[in-house]
């Protein structure tokens, strides 16, 4: 017991308070890592807020109707869609199907005007192809690649032509061709990537890397952006070449609105992300004229989502080791332990003997004075009786106080009083040897 237990007791109290405060403070910090809440940014989209509207505009409905009447295929300025004209002409045959091609990025009003041109059975806005009642959409990666990398809408037109002519839909025609890039092309791109991690070719609308790149590729990635490729020409396939040049690095290659991933885990990863991204966004991308930066931003958000979805048995990159979170479950028991220790030690100190050891001199003095009083009692006379009686009274009170465990100081005061009375008695008797001071010294000697 004693000092050591005191330290432990108040230490336990302090620890309990600290633990309680830590626990309460930790309540503010809500840690939720959920597969449903990856930090990719998303929000309601307003038309035009992502720069998807272009400066292109269309003539009035009457003018366009006249143009379509004059020419079976009308390409308005700014149009980006291309197709294999021989194939489409052959499919149309003598059906007299007219096609109106409008630029991407029209606003709602302008799109409405294009739809109001009644003599055009097929309308292409950007690379979105609609018929009188139908819309054709690409639905696999090669189709999306052709549509967004080169503006190829051949398959879509053929599908709708067949639908207008009430024929069975033909199979997709894939006119997209890769070619290996030349040494010089790769060297130029690689130099830019080495210098800044980004290559932006002439004509590409990418300006800088979107901020969603951080969570998507925590270890960083290389970006190469090219404008929409010329329809009908083989496209230089930079992805594998760059991935070979930068082994272990993530490489993102952008052609027009078509984004490819190359690098580590590409086999597991690239198709999942591309299919999920273009499956959802193809409609908007085909109609509007998004800058490449915005398409890339959305794509990288999807990469983050896929990463967070835990589809792959790889260690997730977003779980920081938080010592507080590890310790939190133990805090209540730590707290309870401290409380128990404090309670036990407090109880012990309260129930245990409060009084320190009584000084041995007090009972001895009481005994000595009592003996003196008894000795003197046979000698007293009328004059000295009251003092002796008072002395005995005080001695009895002192004895009671001692028995009741009252403080030493009080007992000593009573003994002092008794001693004064006895001294008075001895003085009255004229017996110097009975004065308490002398008597007690004689007894003790």
């Amino acid at each position: 017991m004693g000092r050591w237990a005191g330290w432990v007791r108040w230490g336990a109290l302090g620890a309990a308070v600290v633990v309680l405060v830590v626990f309460l403070v930790a309540q503010r910090q809500s840690i939720d890592v959920s597969y449903g809440q990856s930090p990719s940014s998303s929000g309601p989209v307003q038309e035009g807020s992502a720069g998807e509207l272009s400066d292109a505009t269309v003539p009035s409905v009457d003018e366009m109707t006249a143009m379509v009447a004059a020419d079976p295929v009308v390409r308005l300025p700014g149009s980006i869609a291309h197709w294999d004209e021989d194939l489409v002409r052959k499919a149309i045959g003598d059906a007299g199907i007219r096609i109106l091609v409008a630029p991407p990025g029209l606003d709602k009003d302008e799109r409405g005007r294009v739809r109001d041109v009644d003599n055009a059975q097929l309308r292409v806005i950007g690379t979105e192809v609609t018929g009188s009642a139908y819309q054709a959409s690409a639905d696999d990666l090669p189709s999306w690649r052709a549509q967004f990398a080169t503006g190829d809408v051949t398959s879509l037109l053929l599908t709708l032509v067949a639908s207008v002519r009430k024929q069975d839909p033909p199979g997709d025609v894939d006119l997209f061709r890769w070619r290996p890039p030349t040494e010089a092309e790769v060297t130029a791109v690689a130099a830019d990537l080495r210098a800044g991690g980004v290559h932006i070719a002439d004509g590409a609308t990418l300006t800088d890397i979107p901020k969603s790149a951080g969570p998507a590729f925590p270890d960083g990635a290389l970006y190469a952006a090219f404008p929409q490729q010329t329809f009908g020409e083989p496209v230089p396939e930079y992805g594998p070449a760059l991935a070979a040049l930068f082994p272990g690095r993530a490489v993102v290659v952008v052609y027009g609105s078509w984004i490819e991933y190359h690098g580590p885990d590409a086999a597991d990863f690239a198709d999942v992300v591309a299919a999920s991204f273009y499956g959802q966004a193809a409609d908007r991308i085909s109609t509007y004229a998004y800058p490449q930066g915005n398409v890339l931003h959305a794509y990288l958000n999807r990469v983050t989502d896929v990463r967070y979805a835990g589809l792959f048995d790889r260690p997730l990159p977003y779980l920081p080791l938080d010592p507080l979170r590890v310790a939190l479950p133990a805090l209540p028991w730590l707290f309870a332990g401290c409380v128990v220790v404090f309670l036990a030690l407090s109880t012990r100190s309260l129930l245990g003997p409060r009084r320190g050891p009584r000084s041995a001199g007090v009972p001895a003095r009481l005994a000595g004075l009592t003996a003196l009083a008894i000795e003197m009692s046979g000698l007293t006379d009328e004059k000295s009786d009251p003092a002796l009686t008072r002395g005995i009274t005080k001695l009895r009170a002192a004895g009671d106080a001692l028995a009741e465990n009252l403080p030493d100081g009080h007992v000593r005061t009573l003994l002092d009083n008794a001693e004064a009375e006895l001294d008075d008695t001895a003085w009255t008797l004229g017996r110097n040897d009975y004065r308490p001071y002398n008597y007690l010294r004689g007894r003790l000697a």
Binding site: F335, A336, V339, F342, L350, P386, D400, H410, N417
Partner: protein, 100 residues
Amino acid sequence: MVLVWVVGVVVLVAAGFGAVVLPWWRAREVERRTAWSAARAAIESAGVSRDASMSRVDEAERLLAKAEAIAADRGGTAAARTASECASRADRLWREAVDG
């Protein structure tokens, strides 16, 4: 789990309260008993002095009666101190009467 915190806090507060109040209450009790012990001693002493006194001292009689009345009612430390005071004064008055 919340229960651990709630019960723990309640126990802590109770233990802290007990740790402060119990010793204080004990000290008060000891003080009271000490004061009464002193008061009883003083009253008895005064009684002896009165018996030894030849003459009658009204003032002392009154004081001792008052002290005994207070003692009969029991009471707290303050009452004991008052009784003690009265008895001592009565004792002194009787002794002066004897000596004088």
